[in-house]
Amino acid sequence: MSLELSPEAQARLNDKSWRRSQSKWMLWIYLSASSLGAVGFARLAIKTKDEMLKKYAYLFSGLMFVLFLLMGLDDSTTTKVDGKDVTQTSTLGNIGSALIFINFGLQIFFSFKANKIWLVFRAQNNNPTWTAENLNVTDVAKKVFTAPQELAEGALGIDRSDFYATPETERAKKMAPPPPPAAQKKMPPPPPVSAGKMASQENLTIDLNSATVEMLMKNAEFDPVLAANTIVQREKRGGFSSFEEFANDLKLQPHQVAKLKSILIVQKQTEPGGNSGRVLDI
């Protein structure tokens, strides 16, 4: 199946340890000798709502039902002959035994196909952790410092400006009157700089622990793969503790280290999933 995968999803799929962690559902099959394999398939089908996985789930649930039915209808008998137990298996019993092996083999075979579908689904729908990465800092600041709606509209008869300084008011107080035109100096033209220096001046500092793929790719050193791998590795670690940790994990070459060290910063992430859910202490 050919899909347009985002760089982040592709990076997750390329990560062996991530694939291994997502493939643990297959243990339902191997550890239970397929008796609980249908549960694994059903779980995947419910989560992904994928048609193919639903078919697998129905197939193996049906097979398990038939097997239980055969076990119930099996009229094999065990008799003692010359002091030894001799079991006479019926036809149903033989069919049942054969079906158990067939079921096991089929579940192993189809588990790999199902796992492919599952991994692509998980790569594209990786549950984002609640971090500053998906919280726009500017949005938070605006929410905190905006006056409550009722006061803003003057509904309580209170003049908003008595209690809340509007950004415009504050700015007007602080601003000095503009100098008269005659006193204004002509700004000298900026000195010529090399192309390399121009590029580096445009690179603002980026927090490794909160940057998105798009933010990282604003820097020329980050291509889509490196940016996506950075996010994947950050999620794995729960945040980088230092630039050196990031450089080692991503196996940066020396010239990349030299260029990125001055523009990448590492701010400690707060614990996700706290009661208030607040990441930033403004």
Binding site: S194, A195, G196, K197, S200, Q253, P254, H255, Q256, V257, A258, K259, K261
Partner: protein, 69 residues
């Protein structure tokens, strides 16, 4: 003090290979931007070589030992 050098090889295809000589430890990273500005070029690949792991004090000690012997 060890003389610091840059060895720059430019082939007829325009490709450039540069090496820092006698520059040890993380100081050599400073020369990435120096070389890019000097050559009007961008780095595409790099690696540390044996001397990176030496620091200045080790070099001085080595020299001291060789002088005494």
């Amino acid at each position: 003090m060890i003389q610091k050098r840059l060895q720059i090889n430019v082939d007829s295809d325009g490709n450039i290979k540069a090496e820092t000589l006698g520059i040890h430890g993380s100081k050599c990273l400073e020369y990435v931007s120096v070389l890019e500005d000097l050559l009007d070029a961008h780095s595409v690949e790099s690696k540390f070589t044996a001397d990176y792991t030496k620091n200045e004090s080790e070099i001085v000690n080595d020299q001291g030992v060789s002088n005494e012997s």
